[in-house]
Amino acid sequence: MKMNIENSIKNIFFEAFSNLSESDFSWNKEQKDYENWDSFAQLNLVTLAEAKFDISFTLDEAIEIKSANDLLECVRSHLS
């Protein structure tokens, strides 16, 4: 299950950032280090995760997501 969540989050990132390669991906890479992580990309990351895991983030949670790891932790907190 743990691996499945991680894989799903990675896939969400690859989906939201079509030019992101496997080697560029890092769990701790931050929003400011992504070339095209703007507010719309943020919205899409949240939407994709909500649809994938059938959960709903609050606005505060959504705003605080600044890395893949943040999204992973946020998803985990909803599934626990």
């Binding site: 507010s39 719309f40 990309a41 919205l43 899409n44 939407t47 994709l48 649809a51 994938k52 606005l59």
Partner: protein, 479 residues
């Protein structure tokens, strides 16, 4: 000259010709005129003002009383039979109608409404063969009054004059080449302007109308077309799309006598157009763009040799169209404005005037553009534009993409409030029968095919979408 004069001409020129077939009723022009005169005599005997409400499903009686009311110099207020009680009351009050004439089905429905203070008459209770000498025609500019169903707002009263009807009917006849040898199959509701315009056209040229109650039984429609060697057929785009489930060779055979299928400007799937181009060996599919306030403003005959099938055609003769942007300047893309003798001068209740009517131009609220050859294309409703953090998105664009996904039967895109972006996009999706479609699949597809600000933020699977009778989604009802 009004529609009554056209009937009188037909009665004079070919009294024994069949004018109207409905179920087992078959009326010659002479029979039809006799019934119209009788109903006019009854209308004349009623006290009250010039507005008479007519509320019924399609039938011979509908046609007779519609024309009978006009022949007595009064205005027909057309009420859809399925109307809610609250809207019914609003229309009766706004129209200032003095009587209601209705079918027995409608009578059963509205007689349960409390405090209706005007007389209600069922078709069956009205005496037939009343002496026509009792008719006392008054001078009246207005032929009929319809409250628009409205995709984005509350209904508005639109009173259509005889001269507007005359202008529009002549354009239809001229462009679509109707003649008195046509046999016209008409299953559209007559209480809307599409069906009513078809009725006027048939009466204007003196063709034969085969009136059907509705389009519920597609096989029956095909059988009737075949049986009567019908030459024209009027249908909504959704009906035409449903026909495509039949065997193509069978359709070619059934439609072999048809020279014209007329549909309207609700979005017609391109596949439906291309299929009907193949099916109609001896005819053409055509559409028009118009509103109740500006009927039949453009016409499009889908040509087998042309590829501009997404257009709704070029302006009708003596109708002008211009495209106006947010700065009130003429522009390539923007709101469609219409001017011509088919456009109303005022709404029934004048509160909407300032907004929608400017120096004889009707602001339609529809967005579009005109290509270099003068063909008009529709992009959506200006009221539907979703402003997402400053980015403007048309729902139609999103819907077009989502409809490409396997398992999507229908979809509506609309804006919902968002604390940061102002609005974001939400989808209501109807899944095909037995589809396992999930939200992630829809999002994946959208991400591949749309800009990132156009990706829906919320998706709900629903059983149906609120629609007008013309199949347009009532977005203001979605949330």
């Amino acid at each position: 000259m009004n529609i009554i004069d056209s009937i009188k001409n037909s009665v004079k020129n070919y009294p024994e010709k069949t004018a109207l077939i409905f179920g087992n009723d078959s009326l010659t022009f002479k029979d039809l005129w006799k019934s119209i005169e009788s109903s006019s005599s009854f209308i004349t005997s009623l006290n009250g003002n010039k507005i008479i409400s007519l509320m019924a499903e399609n039938s011979s009686s509908f046609v007779i009383f519609y024309l009978g009311i006009i022949n007595s110099g009064k205005t027909v207020h057309l009420i859809p039979p399925e109307i809610s009680e609250i809207n019914f009351r609003a229309q009766i009050s706004s129209s200032n109608s003095s009587s209601i004439i209705c079918s027995s089905t409608v009578f059963d429905k509205i007689s349960n409404f409390e405090s209706i203070n005007i007389p209600i008459f069922q078709f069956n209770d009205i005496p037939k063969n009343i002496d026509s000498k009792l008719i006392d025609s008054e001078v009246n500019n207005f032929a009929y009054l319809i409250y628009t169903s409205g995709t984005t707002s509350a209904p508005k009263g639109v009173a259509v004059t005889h001269s507007m009807v005359n202008f529009t009917t002549k354009n239809i006849v001229h462009i679509l080449k109707y003649t008195n040898s046509d046999i016209d199959v008409l299953p559209l509701p007559l209480y809307h302007s599409f069906g009513l315009g078809c009725l006027h056209t048939s009466l204007y040229v003196g063709s034969t109308i085969i009136l059907l109650k509705n389009t519920n039984d597609l096989q029956r429609i095909l059988n009737i077309i075949k049986k009567y060697n019908a030459t024209t057929f009027a249908a909504l785009p959704a009906t035409l799309s449903k026909f495509l489930k039949f065997n193509e060779n069978d359709l070619i055979d059934y439609f072999s006598s048809i020279r014209l299928i007329i549909t309207n400007s609700t979005k017609i799937p391109i596949a439906t157009i291309s299929n009907f181009k193949k099916i109609l060996l001896n005819g053409n599919l055509a559409t028009y763009y118009g509103l109740t306030e500006a009927s039949r403003s453009t016409f499009m005959i889908f040509d087998k040799n042309l590829t501009n099938d997404e257009s709704v055609g070029r302006p009708a003769p003596n109708v002008q169209i211009k495209i106006i942007n947010d700065s009130d300047q003429e522009s390539e893309t923007g709101e469609i404005w219409i001017k011509g003798d088919n456009v109303i001068e005022t709404y029934w209740e004048k509160i909407f005037n300032d907004k929608n009517l400017v120096d004889g131009w009707l602001r339609t609220g529809d967005l579009g553009y005109v290509d270099k050859n003068g063909y008009l294309y529709l992009l959506g409703r200006s009221d539907d534009v979703i402003n997402i953090g400053g980015e403007k998105v048309l729902p139609d664009e999103i819907e077009k993409i989502v409809k490409q996904i396997d398992g999507v039967e229908d979809v509506a895109a609309f804006g919902i409030d968002h604390e940061i972006f102002g609005k974001v996009i939400k989808l209501h999706v109807i899944k095909s029968l037995d589809s396992n479609l999930d939200k992630s699949t829809i999002l994946h597809y959208c991400i591949k095919h749309l800009e990132k600000y156009k990706i829906p933020s919320k998706i709900d699977f629903v059983k149906n979408l609120p629609q007008t009778d013309y199949g347009k989604v009532k977005r203001f009802m979605l949330k």
